[in-house]
């Protein structure tokens, strides 16, 4: 889209959401605020999950693997056309960064709520994006992005860069197909593992090498551009705290970013979005070294999981902005109108065991709980009684708190984590509380190796005698309520569980 060409404004009336879980619910919420109807899709095994019924219409994708369901472009387009949707929102993951999908959506006469397929192609490939970014004068990490994929050649390149070296899937994301190699002797097995994971996850085992920065921070700039050539940044998020290369704590502002650094980083981000004529919401991921130098890592051409922290500090609704842009409207602000107020922190609640190598877990959610705090938000794709299976990502929910200061936001988030309990599935809830309470976290000593560095300090604490006494008291009262001596099974809860099992039949219709 040329900056000076006339852009047609076309109101969206019905959005098909090509996604599931919390992000589907998030999009429905904003669509309703804008008077737009929504359509969701779901698989056979998902019946009973809230996103199946939260929109105005819902259609089943049938059963089978992701390829046959959420990645089945033809089927999704067919549903969109037959239900009369005029736009498709891809959410994050799945087809959100598949240029073939955005092309197909557009070719079918529908609006794709996202960037052009050219932008997705350019930024989706780690090699081409690095080349473009260098042209635009934004620094990126030294590495090897060549076509020669032979083990011996890559190993030679790794030696040239100097260990430690990072092996990454060219088409990758979310840490899949990624390995850190510390010594030449470890290269081969890491290379094979990365290739295997890349092939399984993305159907493409091309890898690239990068110089590994030992104590980096992960800082990202939220960008938003309209079709009229206006490019904005919505400040930074810090997402350094990760496990298995996936973010678990995200915040805005970053405790490491000074106003001067922020100005440099956001200027670099805008150089990229204006340089590639970007449209819509995106994220420029940067690696910040201890010497305050930063490097371009990658650009995500979609809405990010952690977008709520940006929403809470800017007061903007990012999904609304995405829809406005897709309708061809001008973004309704100037850069100087945008402010980063207070502090917001998000934690990702995962079905996993942080005390056993973060192994994913499955089970039935008996109780999620409710937050009673103001300025605290739960973005959750489940309700009590739902089953957590191995078919989808183990993220259960995102919990976000806003406070005037970073400490206040963290304190509130700990309180909220006491209320959002996710009983029934092994989760990282307590582990997240340990992170937020750690004095190193409070001091902002947050590097991407945080989880490993403070492994010992993040071990579970032994329960105190007083805490056990309280648990005993709770069990005594509970057994009294239930009417059984010594049997603490709770009568009231049993009843609610029964309600769910009787409801499940109804919901299966």
């Amino acid at each position: 889209m040329k900056n000076n060409s006339k852009v047609e404004v076309k109101k969206i009336n019905k959005i098909l959401i090509a996604n599931r879980g919390e992000i589907a619910l998030r999009i429905i919420q904003t669509a309703r605020e804008m008077g737009i109807k929504t359509v969701t899709i779901f698989t056979e095994e998902e019946r009973g999950l809230p996103h199946c019924t939260a929109g105005d219409e819902a259609f089943c994708l049938g059963a089978g693997s992701l390829k046959d369901t959420y990645l089945n472009q033809a089927k999704i387009i067919e549903i969109a056309r037959s239900c009369g949707a005029d736009a498709v929102h891809p959410g994050y993951g799945f087809l959100s960064e598949k240029s073939s999908f955005s092309k197909l959506v557009t070719a079918s006469g529908l609006i794709f709520i996202g960037p052009s397929s050219e932008s997705i192609d350019l930024m989706g490939d780690k090699k081409s994006s690095k080349i473009k970014i260098q042209e635009l004068g934004v620094p990126s990490i030294p590495g090897y992005h060549g076509d020669n994929q032979e083990m011996s050649h890559l190993c030679k390149e790794a030696c040239r860069l100097g260990f430690p070296v990072l092996i990454k899937a060219s088409a990758g994301g979310g840490g899949k197909g990624m390995r850190i190699v510390n010594f030449e002797s470890e290269f081969q097995s890491a290379f094979e593992g990365a290739k295997r994971e890349a092939l399984n996850s993305f159907g493409d085992d091309t890898v690239l090498l990068e110089k590994y920065i030992t104590s980096p921070r992960h800082i990202e700039i939220q960008v938003m551009s309209d079709k009229h050539g206006n490019h904005f940044h919505l400040f930074e998020r810090e997402c350094s705290i990760q496990r298995r290369y996936q973010k678990i704590v995200e915040e805005s502002p970053s405790p490491a970013v000074t106003p001067e650094l922020r100005a440099q980083m956001t200027a670099a981000a805008l150089k990229i979005t204006s340089g590639i004529n970007y449209i819509g919401a995106g994220t420029i991921e940067l690696i910040l070294d201890t010497d305050e130098k930063f490097y371009f890592l990658e650009m995500n051409t979609r809405l990010q999981v952690e977008h709520p922290v940006t929403e809470m500090v800017t007061g903007l609704d990012l999904v609304r902005l995405q829809i406005l842009v897709a309708q061809g409207e001008k973004l309704p602000f100037k850069q100087e109108d945008l402010k980063q107020a207070g502090h917001a922190i998000e934690v990702r609640l995962y079905a996993e065991d942080p005390d056993n190598d973060f192994l994913p877990s499955i089970g039935t959610i008996k109780k999620i709980g409710k937050s009673t705090l103001l300025h605290t938000r739960l973005d959750c794709g489940y309700i009590d009684g739902n089953e957590v299976t191995i078919s989808f990502d183990p993220m259960l929910a995102k919990l976000i708190s806003w406070g005037e200061t970073r400490d206040l936001a963290a304190d509130k988030l700990i309180l909220a984590l006491n209320e959002i309990v996710f009983i029934g599935v092994k989760t990282n809830r307590d582990y997240l509380k340990r992170i937020l309470s750690l004095s190193e976290y409070r001091q902002g000593i947050t590097f991407t190796n945080f989880v490993k560095t403070y492994e010992d300090k993040l071990k579970p604490k032994k329960k105190t005698k007083e805490e056990i006494a309280l648990a005993i008291a709770a069990a005594l009262f509970s057994s009294k309520i239930n009417g059984h001596n010594g049997n603490p099974a709770n009568g009231e809860i049993k009843k609610s569980a029964d309600v769910w099992s009787s409801l499940s039949g109804f919901r299966n219709i």
């Binding site: 109780k367 006491n418 209320e419 099974a489």
Partner: protein, 156 residues
């Protein structure tokens, strides 16, 4: 009255001295505790001990007390669980696919030796030996789908 609970797999003895619908007084490990029951609704109760309000969220045998989760069971129901002994079996932690087997029958392993690589929830997980010994049997081959909790290898 003496009572017994199993809290997080440990047997706990309690002597209840006095109790009413909204009050308990009990001895636990040589100390006396007096707790009042405040509000009770929607599977949530508030306990008051020494003036401090402590919210408790309950579901089945799970109790989240002031944010900390406990599993509390009656002794008889959970006796079997406590007695679980490690027989040297390495089990699949969850359903998934066997990607790579890193040992063969007859190999000597120590606790922590990588045994095989599984894929579950789109991520690779390395299953490690839980104790030292010799690999006696490997029950699956690369590419096999396995259920959760199934014995993968036998180490003796």
């Amino acid at each position: 009255m003496k009572k017994q609970f199993v809290i997080d797999d440990e047997i706990v003895d309690v002597e209840v001295v006095d109790e009413s619908a909204s009050f308990v007084l009990f001895n636990f490990e040589g100390e006396e505790y007096s707790v009042n029951l405040g509000a009770l609704q929607d599977g949530k109760m508030v306990l008051n001990m020494k003036g401090k309000n402590r919210p408790v969220i309950l579901a089945d045998t799970h109790y989240v007390v002031d944010g900390q989760e406990f599993v509390i069971d009656a002794p008889r129901r959970s006796r079997k669980k406590i007695k679980s002994v490690d027989h040297g079996q390495m089990k699949s932690p969850m359903p998934g696919k066997i990607l790579k087997i890193l040992v063969k029958v007859g190999d000597e392993v120590v606790a922590g030796t990588p045994i095989l690589v599984m894929e579950a929830m789109k991520m690779e997980h390395t299953i490690k030996a839980s104790k030292a010994g010799t690999v006696l049997q490997i029950h699956f081959k690369e590419g096999d789908q396995v259920a959760g909790g199934v014995e993968l290898v036998n180490v003796k």
